[in-house]
């Protein structure tokens, strides 16, 4: 009964206050909650409308924004930008495409097909270095992605950044080489090692990983290692077998035919070239390979002329048809053919610098260095506005010709100018430096390395032109 005893007045007042205060608090909390919900809905709606209509992202859903799936939102926006970038690229609007790819890659750096496409775009726009930056960034996020591995290391090795390949591969844990991509990684490592001129290292690597010799995609590189380590017949056999099993890559035919020619296996080289021409009937390169093989086998006999005639009938009207043949004539030192093509080309082409360079190459092969320098001087005199690409071609030949004459100061001067033309292209500078190193033109190597040139005149430079 004591529980039913009426409250004293102050206690009753306190109780009333408590019950009134609790109700009010509940009301306040209710209002706050409702306000927050309203704000959330407003914010989500605003965000959705912004992304959907201002950023014109048609794939975004309200739920993505409402549930704060930012990653999804960004991916959606990126996907749209990737699509837009491709359209703009196809339409030739490089600036808009560049912006769209930039935006898309930043918003969705895990979109590997997108990254690969952006890299392709950058390559097409002439920026291998930006393409590589993009690919390497992607590879850092997805180090085991097969597509990224293939594109990144292929490009690195193609543009002469073989040392970067080795550096990136060196940063990988050893477990990476035993995984699914292990063989691909080892193949790139082997190729890069060989490209930097470390034949001994490549041979050692191959001995440590004999499984590479059983891996079809690695066989052309393995054959190169054998060739460079003077196991030439083995190299030819290996590449021949590879072509029989995988006849779809032209580069292997070209490599094999060249090795066969060097090994005085002219008949085999002709057969290889004929097979390539059969396999790639519409292409110009296999026909040139056949001309080269016939020229070497028959010492430019009747079959050689027949092959040239067939080539000219098929490709003579193409803008690059004459130039490609002239380039071969230059490489092989066929002066008469190079000159004849220059004369014929003069009637159909407004610009003859390229054909002139091919003629100069043919003269170089015949060690007619003074004629070459005179010819190059005449072409240079007519090209005051030439860009770096032309200048590089010119200086390269000047270096070889002046080295052939044993004119050290002239070699250094031409090499200095070559370095000037290549100032924005470190990859090409490295490739040229390596080439001159192989040719033994030390002054040029020194200029391209940025070191003081040695006073000595290039040793063996005379032989350079015939290599």
């Amino acid at each position: 009964m004591s529980a039913l005893r009426p409250l004293s007045a102050p206690a009753a007042a306190r109780s009333r206050l408590r019950s009134t205060g609790g109700w009010a608090l509940k009301q306040v909390l209710l209002f706050v909650a409702a306000g927050l919900v309203a704000l959330y809905l407003l914010g989500a709606t605003g965000g959705f409308l912004f992304v959907r209509y201002v950023r014109k992202n048609e794939t975004i859903s309200f739920i993505d924004v409402a549930l704060l799936r930012w990653r999804e939102v960004r991916r959606g926006m990126a996907a749209q930008q990737f699509a837009k970038a491709k359209l703009e690229w196809d339409a030739g609007n490089y600036q808009v495409a560049f912006l769209a790819y930039n935006f898309a890659v930043n918003n969705d750096p895990d979109n590997i097909p997108g990254l690969l496409e952006a890299a392709r775009f950058l390559q097409a726009a002439g920026s291998n270095s930006m393409a590589l930056t993009t690919l390497e960034a992607g590879l850092a996020r997805a180090p085991d992605d097969e597509r990224l591995i293939e594109r990144t290391f292929s490009l690195l090795n193609t543009v002469g950044r073989d040392r970067r390949t080795l550096e990136l591969l060196g940063q990988r844990p050893s477990s990476a080489f035993s995984g699914a991509n292990g063989l691909a990684l080892r193949t790139f490592e082997l190729e890069a090692t060989l490209n930097v001129g470390d034949v001994e290292g490549a041979t050692k690597l191959l001995a440590q990983h004999p499984e590479l010799a059983r891996t079809p995609r690695a066989l052309p590189v393995v054959a190169r290692v054998l060739w460079e380590s003077k196991q030439r017949l083995k190299a030819i056999e290996l590449l021949s077998g590879h072509i029989r099993n995988r006849p779809e890559t032209y580069d292997a035919y070209a490599q094999l035919a060249q090795w066969q020619l060097v090994s005085e296996m002219g008949d085999d080289a002709v057969r290889t070239a004929e097979k390539a021409a059969e396999k790639f009937p519409k292409d110009l390169a296999p026909k040139l390979l056949l001309i080269e093989a016939q020229g070497m086998r028959t010492n430019r006999g009747k079959e050689f002329n027949v092959a040239i005639e067939a080539y000219l009938k098929e490709f003579g009207s193409r803008p690059d048809g004459l130039l490609q043949l002239a380039s071969l004539a230059g490489r092989r030192g066929w002066v008469e053919l190079a000159r004849g093509l220059y004369e014929v080309g003069a009637l159909v082409q407004p610009e003859l610098g390229g054909l002139g360079f091919c003629y100069a190459d043919a003269l170089l092969r015949q060690s007619r260095f003074r004629d070459v320098l005179q010819l190059l001087g005449q072409i240079e005199g007519q090209s005051p506005d030439a860009g770096p690409a032309f200048t590089v071609q010119l200086r390269n030949r000047q270096i070889i010709a002046t080295a052939g004459l044993g004119d050290g100061p002239a070699v250094r001067e031409a090499a200095r100018r070559l370095a000037g033309a290549l100032r924005n292209d470190g990859d090409a500078m490295e490739l040229y430096r390596r080439t001159f190193q192989k040719l033994g033109i030390t002054e040029a190597v020194a200029e391209l390395s940025g070191r003081a040139a040695p006073a000595r005149v290039a040793a063996g430079a005379g032989a350079a032109s015939t290599k």
């Binding site: 030739g92 490089y94 600036q95 808009v96 495409a97 560049f98 912006l99 930039n102 935006f103 950058l122 726009a125 002439g126 920026s127 270095s129 930006m130 930056t133 002329n305 040239i308 005639e309 000219l312 009938k313 003579g316 009207s317 066929w334 008469e336 053919l337 000159r339 004849g340 093509l341 220059y342 004369e343 014929v344 003069a346 009637l347 407004p350 610009e351 003859l352 610098g353 390229g354 054909l355 002139g356 003629y359 004629d371 005179q374 010819l375 005449q378 072409i379 005199g381 007519q382 090209s383 005051p384 506005d385 030439a386 860009g387 770096p388 690409a389 200048t391 000037g420 100032r423 924005n424």
Partner: protein, 420 residues
Amino acid sequence: MGLFAGAVFAALAPGAGLAQGPAAAPAPVVESRFSETQREYVHSYIRQSLPDFPREFAEPAVELFLGELQRKFPGETERMLSPDFSFKKYDGILFRVLGTQLTGASQATLREEVARRRVQAALEQEAGGKLVGAMESRIAINKIKTMASFYPRRLFEGRMDDDELALLLKKTRESEAPGAAPAAPAKPRELTASDIVAEYGRRNQEGAAWQNLRALSIESQLKTANGDDLKIFLFRLRPDRFRMVIQAGGATRFMTIFDGSKYWQQAPGRPWQEIPERSVGSSRYLGEFVDPLVADSGMTYTRLPDGTEGANKIFRIGVRRQDGSGYTAWIDQTTFRQVGRETDDKQTVRYSDFRSVAGIMMAFREESADATGKKTVLTLVRASPDPGLIQSFFEPAESGSLGFFELERMLGRAPVAATP
């Protein structure tokens, strides 16, 4: 034949226009202060705006542009890659720095296009961002070209700042305002032959275009009085080398060359044969690399009584070579183009369709009539300045199995060679 071909080259007359500085290689690029992304972005804009602009010349320009943008509009280089950045606002700066990179004779057309784009950008800015058509900017450029020569020169070479350009555009508008006095070209009352030849040389080339030219190749079509169609290729190299190739029915009939001391001729299936100078005829004047009217020496000029050609008055200038041969050049009194010539054997040639090639004014059409009134028409198809000609091209090649005629036959353009 030689007469016609000779006439072609006599028509290679210098033309009016811009003086031009020596050609220069692109400015060297120092280590960039800007990211590759920023530079590529500007490159992509250039590529879109001016697809023919060579990238190697754009590189230093991009660096200059970004530097100027950063200096004049701090923060804009950072904002550049944001979607709301408007590149158009800075077109003026960009096209000006692009203009500074184009200094070569062969870049005259591109240089003018860059200047036109800059004028268009300036006009758009004046119009408060309203789009201005290419036509308006072209009209403005044409007006600027009629002003004193330093105006277009400074504009085309990117040496005119924005304020100066704004004033210039104002001036072009004032000149068309009603009541504005037309700019009358100053015309001397009595000109000597030397005055006329000097003015001809000034008006028919940009700066020292003739002096800068090292070689020239020309492809032309000749319609003879008998109705035959021939193709003539002419290659010329300083100081006096030439090679002329005559084709009919798509096949070469014969070639003539001058190697600096001897003349040679070759026909299909035959070796090169030396020919005596006397049998070369007027073809020997093909060796005159520079138009006789702008030659530094070896020519004498006489002013003959003026004449008319159609409705236009012409100066008649007697041109004599050191060997006594010569012709009379007809020079239009208003334009100072060589509109015709008459030779000692009463042949007359009329030149028309003047076009600028590497800064040199050339007639792309010449109609020739001999003393009996038979007419031939020569039309230039293509003229290529400094194409990369080499000395040995003007020397007879050793006979071999893969010479010019054999390769031409292989290409399927020529009939089987005649039996020697």
